[in-house]
Symmetry: C2
Subunit: 512 residues, 2 copies
């Protein structure tokens, strides 16, 4: 058994059966091993940002790591921005990077690069396999690291000779350890704060955004009168009819500051202390008031749902049913507005859909206005590195082939990882992508105003994507994804509804 | 004057008048400064690999750095693979990366990343501006580093507050220092070796691949009987009718080893010791024989043309005219073969064209078979990180608006940086892109065989891009580039010839 075979055996033996791959020469033995060992679902992606964004979404849905397969340092580099997003989402990924043979590395051949240097900033675990005999154990260690609660990126660099040499030994990773225990003192302190009647807020994030924990959090805030808010960009939130609705920290800094105004105590459950997305002249970086005390109920590596349950018990917060959902309005009609799109979306969203939200500027109202839609998961861009949306549709649809994935996708952001559409078509993934085609970097127009600049021709040109206009139906068609244009809300509802009845991907170019 | 304005003034004052940009929020003051200060050509690119690949090609043509404008660590990350290629090409780039404000950096907002960690492996110079007053001097230092012979990547990280604060002071960089002087001993030793009559080879690279130095090198080898070869992937070679033709190190390792067989002395002029692109089981990494002595006539930081001239003088190599070119055969007709494509290309290539060669597997014969075409520059993928080709067409065409750029582009590689087509259209660049549509990672099929693997269904699927087939006419059309399909060599000649008469870009999908 060669090293590559021991790697494939190790992955399979530890329950990792999906690899998102963009292989090159140094990974040919891994690819050959996949032939000889059945059981791995290999998803070919045409650039590495698709690989890593897909692996991120796969974890968010399944809670188990996918493997990636990347080619040398530059191939890893192409996937870094979505690994950055995955790190912010606390996703577990076994990130496999093929590299030059150990003895070839010092010769500095053209593709040789500082693979470790590039991997380190996103990797909680980073190891270069030394030889074929170590590959299995190295992979098991990477798997264990990736699964360590709540989820981490574990990068395993695989020199070509460690893959092709004989002597591979598969290995078993230890079972994932449970989350770090909740601290009694943290529960007691939070209960005391909430009983005091002083203005408090419960800010949730990470593992407290699933339906059960959300209900507990809501019970706590209903019982105590504390404000209730979620982090800005949930990795995955369970919501919709029959579930608790919660607002998120607004992106615009003034609105975000307003959301925290007057708070004396901020209680964090799975969330980190909230800060502005960017600095702006003469505005604070921390979003909560200077005299607010921050209290950590549960860290991201602790069991947030258990912490909330213990807090609810300590407070004696009664069991209450989730609030009755408001009746859904019918799909909106007429000209395309953000509110109208949200209303159409809420009406059409199928049961148990997965929404991937990289809608950016136009889509800020989509989230609040879909709170009463059919139950669904809402997954966001967690690290701000745009270009995650289309790759995430791939990973989510591979993870949950029987659920519909709806991509809400800004056009400018979609251009960073367009090749994801090809994998949607190749794997016949059940994805409806809605391109919000405003033909500009609309968010930057707001940011330019936000920094006090009065844009002239040169600046505006740098934000303008209309010269030439991108034709999304052709772009999708070029990659094998059927597509149509929507110019009205009636078009949108019709195309969206139709897309839900078909197997495989569909793209709607929504002119906004 | 704020820091951003001092940066723009410093760039312009030092002759840098072109910026390839994909800006975000933290660069809005730079963008606003471009409004207030005329003179900068801003080229908007829709992903960062286009930015950095274009800046690389711009340097190769003009010999002066362009500036980039990238957004925070993840934006830089998206551009790293083409910075890797640029580093291997020894291109000078002033690589500007906007980042979080200095005081916001410690708050670890979502987009915050280890920008230095990612920049370091490709950057000869790396500095984070400390405040607005330092930005001008920091930029001047970066410019000086970028221009240091033969060319380097100089990364300047620009925290948002250093851009928006007042107190900017423009600065002037010192003029570029000349190349390091040639060593007399190196000339004398090379002359002695070449006079000895022992089997020797002159291997050229870098700055010795321009027409004048090539002629000198050819005179030396004609006079002494030494073998004559060029590095595998020239950053830029001047060639065609009236110039000296030289072969390159072959990519397949067995052919490469054969090229060096029997050599006792290897004399390097601007080239580095040749090594295999990848390691293969039981094959050597160094391409020259174990008993071959390597002798450095000129390092990449030395004046290679001067070294060759001194060597020719020391040897008394007579002035001789360049060899008469062979008459060009007419364009080939019929079915599409590599040789036929090369013949059509050689016949159609306009005077002074710039050829960007990322043709990979199918295109290995293009180079030798175009030696007698009209005079042209040939620019290659230097670092092996595929996806440079389309971005390089952008940079070359911006650098030389009155020359035709011909992109020879493998389809698999093109998918990494597709968005370059949009910038071709937006800037109305005179680029003819020929997509070699074999609908597979053909090179990997060879590599899979090369490592001794006998591919089965799973492995072959991982190399196959035909499911679905990419439709390049739609992909180009979607970005505003007119396109047509060629199924025969007659189609190719007709479309290629027509494209040369039109202003702006054109894409030919050549079915191979």
């Amino acid at each position: 058994m060669n090293g590559a075979e021991s790697l494939v055996h190790t992955l399979l033996a530890n329950g990792i059966d999906t690899v998102f791959a963009n292989p090159g020469t140094s990974e040919m033995h891994f690819v050959a091993a996949l032939d000889r060992i059945p059981g791995m679902h290999c998803v070919l992606c045409l650039d590495e940002s698709v690989v890593t964004g897909a692996a991120d979404a796969y974890w968010r849905i399944t809670g188990k790591p996918a493997a990636t397969l990347l080619h040398c340092g530059p191939g890893l580099a192409n996937g870094l921005s979505n690994l950055h997003n995955a790190r912010r989402a606390r996703s577990g990924i076994v990130n496999i990077v093929g590299d030059q043979a150990t003895y070839h590395q010092p010769l500095d051949a053209p593709l040789t690069a500082d693979t470790e240097g590039w991997a380190r900033p996103v990797s909680a675990f980073l190891r270069r396999a030394a030889n074929a005999a170590s590959v299995g154990a190295d992979a098991a260690a990477a798997i264990a690291a990736a699964r360590t609660y709540p989820g981490h990126i574990a990068t395993l660099i695989l020199p070509a000779d460690t893959a092709w040499e004989d002597g591979g030994i598969p290995a078993i990773a230890p079972p994932p350890a449970p989350p770090a225990p909740v601290q009694t003192l943290a529960i007691e302190t939070a209960a005391k704060i909430l009983r005091s009647g002083e203005p408090a807020m419960l800010l949730i994030g990470g593992d407290t955004e699933r339906a059960g924990a959300l209900l507990t959090a809501w019970r706590i805030t209903q019982h105590t009168g504390a404000k209730f808010l979620a982090e800005r960009s949930p990795a995955r939130m369970e919501r919709g009819r029959g579930r608790v609705a919660v607002e998120r920290i607004p992106y615009p800094v003034d609105q975000a500051l307003a959301a925290f105004a007057g708070i004396k105590h901020l209680i964090l459950a799975g969330a980190t202390p909230p800060v502005a997305f960017f600095a702006y002249p003469n505005k604070p970086g921390h979003l909560y008031p200077p005299d607010c005390t921050v209290h950590v109920l549960s860290r991201p590596d602790q069991d947030g749902p258990a912490a909330l349950a213990a807090l609810a018990a300590a407070l004696g917060a009664p069991e209450i049913p989730t609030p009755e959902p408001m009746p859904l309005p019918p799909p909106a009609t007429g000209a395309v507005t953000p509110e109208g799109v949200a209303q159409c979306l809420a009406a059409a969203l199928p049961d148990n859909a997965i929404v991937i939200d990289e809608a950016i500027s136009f889509g800020r109202g989509f989230f609040p206005n879909t709170r009463n839609a059919a139950p669904h998961d809402w997954m966001m861009l967690t690290g701000g590195a745009i270009g995650a949306g289309l790759p995430m549709t791939v990973g989510a649809a591979v993870a949950a082939p029987h659920r519909r994935v709806i991509g809400l996708q800004a056009d400018g952001s979609a251009m960073y990882s367009l090749a994801a559409l090809w994998t949607q078509a190749r794997e016949r993934l059940n994805v409806t992508t809605i391109i919000l085609a405003n033909r500009e970097y609309a968010i930057l127009r707001g940011e330019l105003a936000g920094v006090g600049a009065n844009p002239g021709r040169t600046a505006l040109d740098m934000l303008d994507l209309s010269n030439p206009a991108l034709d999304w139906c052709q772009l999708a068609g070029g990659m094998g994804v059927p597509a149509a244009q929507a110019a009205t809300l009636e078009d949108l509802t019709r195309l969206l509804t139709e897309s839900l009845t078909r197997a495989g991907p569909f793209l709607i170019e929504l002119l906004i």
